[in-house]
């Protein structure tokens, strides 16, 4: 790692010496938003909010910046974030301040078609909206919450791009980035791992192949692809084959206890989807997810029954999705329209029948200021996935573009 950083530094120095013409730019967005969440009084996983201590109200002020300096050979980018968050629940109020680099990168064009980069990179890809089965690091891709910011993985990357159609990347993942803000056991397990990615694009299609390996765990294999069938219709899919580092086993017989495996059996997770764009630019996407690591209906039912006596273990070690099969619908306005944006989402867990309806809207007030709102409405009872913790959540805010 140190040697690679030294080589990168040397390349950058040589390139800088050759190319004095730097272009610099910066911009940022200042966010101010408040959330109110109505928690379930009868929650099995979080009775009386004693397990998770979730916020019932919060106010956030956040500055997200983008800095860039580049010449013909070297590009430096950074995305620093500073935030102040005040949270309130029945136990009291808490204030949390933080400042960190969500992403940064030094990229050097080492030779024709070859780039070397070091930094904190969001190693996420693929066309799916609901989840990203083809990424070993970001299964929950954050697309359901437009306010959420993914923190990158600290990594070194060598990329060969011989032409417009192909690219190959070899990445050494060092650690999971800024863990304090978004602690993530799943991503932390990929410290000091290798990632290889191959991408290919044709006239109307694109696909990527992914392989990741850490020293003490089984390899992850993934693939994603998309086809543009017409001006309006796209088909796409993502698949991943993985062994999870920790798996909470929930036998269908509720009389048996939870057991925790240090490595799950290898399972396939796959998502297929299609999107259709209407004449006015609105689009409808339909996705189906099969999560091989999820529980069957009987296992999920037994999970909630066991959680009555052991909610801490049930919530703390819960699998990334409780169910096995999901449908996700997204209807949204033209994403390239500068005048505003809205997005309606409907997700159904086909294993337990719970649903979540979400709506996000953004209205442009002037060329710098936009107002936005996000409403989440879980539908179901306390022993179903989407409705296990809360009844509704509402976020309202403003964002101001800088400079």
């Amino acid at each position: 790692m140190k040697l690679a950083a030294l080589v990168l530094g040397l390349c950058a120095t040589l390139a800088v010496a050759d190319e004095p013409a730097w272009r610099t730019s910066w911009d940022g967005t200042l966010y101010g938003y408040a959330n109110t969440t109505s928690l379930r009084g009868d929650s099995v996983l979080n009775p009386g909010n004693r397990i998770a201590h979730l916020a019932q109200r919060s106010e956030v002020a956040e500055l997200r910046m983008n800095l860039k300096a580049e010449n013909e050979s070297v590009r430096l980018t950074a995305r620093p974030i500073a935030l102040i968050r005040e949270t309130h629940n029945a136990f009291g109020s808490e204030r949390y301040d933080d400042a960190y680099l969500s992403q940064w990168q030094v990229r050097v064009r080492a030779a024709e078609g070859w780039n070397v980069a070091a930094g904190r990179d969001v190693l996420n890809w693929g066309p799916a909206q609901f989840r990203s089965p083809s990424s070993p690091f970001y299964f929950d891709n954050g697309r359901q919450d437009p306010m959420r910011e993914l923190v990158g993985m600290d990594s070194l990357k060598l990329t060969w791009t011989p032409d417009m159609q192909s690219s190959v990347s070899l990445v050494r993942v060092v650690r999971s980035g800024h863990g304090a803000t978004q602690p993530d056991a799943w991503r932390d397990n990929w410290q000091m791992s290798w990632l290889m990615k191959f991408d290919r694009r044709g006239d109307e299609w694109a696909y990527g192949l992914v392989a990741a390996k850490a020293a003490d765990r089984a390899a992850f294999l993934g693939a994603h692809g998309q086809a543009t069938l017409s001006d309006a219709l796209m088909l796409y899919g993502e698949v991943g084959s993985s062994v999870l580092a920790r798996a909470l086993q929930s036998p269908a017989d509720a009389a048996q206890p939870f057991t925790v495996l240090s490595a799950s059996p290898r399972r396939i997770t796959a998502l297929v989807g299609s999107s259709y764009t209407f004449e006015d630019g609105k689009s409808l996407a339909v996705e189906y997810l099969h999560e091989g690591h999820g529980y069957t209906s009987a296992q999920e039912s037994a999970y909630f029954q066991r959680a009555t006596n052991n909610p801490g273990m049930a919530l703390g070690l819960a699998p990334r999705q409780l169910g096995r099969d999901y449908v996700h619908l997204v209807m949204q306005s033209n994403q390239m329209d500068e005048r505003g944006f809205w997005r309606l989402m409907y997700t159904r867990n086909l294993t337990d029948g719970s649903k979540e309806i979400a709506a996000y809207g953004e209205a442009v007030l002037n060329n710098r200021i936009s107002a936005f709102g996000l409403v989440l409405l879980p539908q179901g009872n306390a022993q179903q996935e989407f409705s296990a913790l809360s009844r509704r959540s509402i976020t309202l805010g403003l964002k101001i573009a800088l400079p």
Partner: protein, 253 residues
């Protein structure tokens, strides 16, 4: 003998003259439509190793005037990446187009979003209009006479799409006889309905292979069905080879 030789030489001269005349006549009668199209593409960014330009977009729909946009576009014949500079709230948003595949990304977005060709920028400009023009690669051209535009004689070319990746099915294209640049275009649907008209100005110039080439400075697109108009002003034009990595989704941070 002498007479026979004289007759032979005269016949050879006659045949040569006839061939030259015939070649000249055929050239005069049918100028090479595809060649004219290819030459005219250069003044709109086509056939170059790569081009970087700034586009200012202003759109009007009836009395409603849209917010102006400013983009930096890097393009080759079949790929382009446009980065929004203004309005400030959209700065850093990038639209990547490789063949018929398109993705949208912006700072902080968890991953690029694939979008269909039907999702285009607001106003009358299509995604193809902001990229380099490669009509010679995308369309079959046929000569359809000559006609003057603002008093300037033009070849009239009928263009028919060679494949379904094109933005428009058919185009009628007026190319100046003298300057070799397109002055007007009519964009036509497969059924023959006129969708939009465009006019072009060439107050920019680029240097390429030791030649100074006039280059598009303004494109005005008017909707044929409703009262709407978009003006694109092209500036800061540079002919540059654009590296393939600029169009690689994994390197767009």
């Amino acid at each position: 003998m002498h007479s026979a030789m004289f007759k032979g030489k005269a016949m050879t001269r006659f045949l040569c003259a006839l061939s030259i005349l015939s070649l000249a006549q055929s050239a005069w009668a049918a100028p090479d439509a595809q060649g004219i199209l290819k030459d005219s593409d250069q003044a709109r960014g086509g056939g170059l190793p790569g081009i970087v330009w700034e586009i200012k977009l202003a759109s009007r729909d009836g009395d409603k005037v849209d917010e102006p946009q400013r983009l930096i576009v890097k393009a080759t014949d079949n790929s382009s990446v446009a980065e929004v500079q203004e309005p400030a709230r959209s700065k850093g948003t990038k639209l990547l187009q490789v063949e018929r595949n398109m993705w949208l990304t912006r700072p902080g977005l968890s991953k690029p979003i694939p979008i269909s060709p039907r999702q285009r920028m607001s106003g009358q400009a299509s995604n193809g209009d902001i990229a380099a023009t490669n009509y010679a690669g995308d369309y079959e051209a046929q000569m359809n006479g000559t006609e003057a535009i603002d008093g300037e004689p033009c070849h009239v070319l009928d263009l028919v799409a060679k494949h379904k990746r094109t933005t428009y099915d058919k185009i009628r294209y007026w190319v100046s006889v003298k300057r070799g640049v397109a002055l007007k275009a009519e964009f036509i649907s497969l059924s023959g309905k006129l969708l939009k008209t465009a006019r072009f100005d060439y107050e920019n110039a680029i240097e390429h292979e030791g030649k100074r080439i006039p280059f598009v400075s303004k494109m005005t697109i008017r909707d044929a069905l409703i009262d709407a108009e978009t003006t694109m002003q092209f500036g800061a034009v540079k002919v540059n080879k654009v590296a393939a990595s600029e169009f690689d989704l994994g390197q767009m941070q």
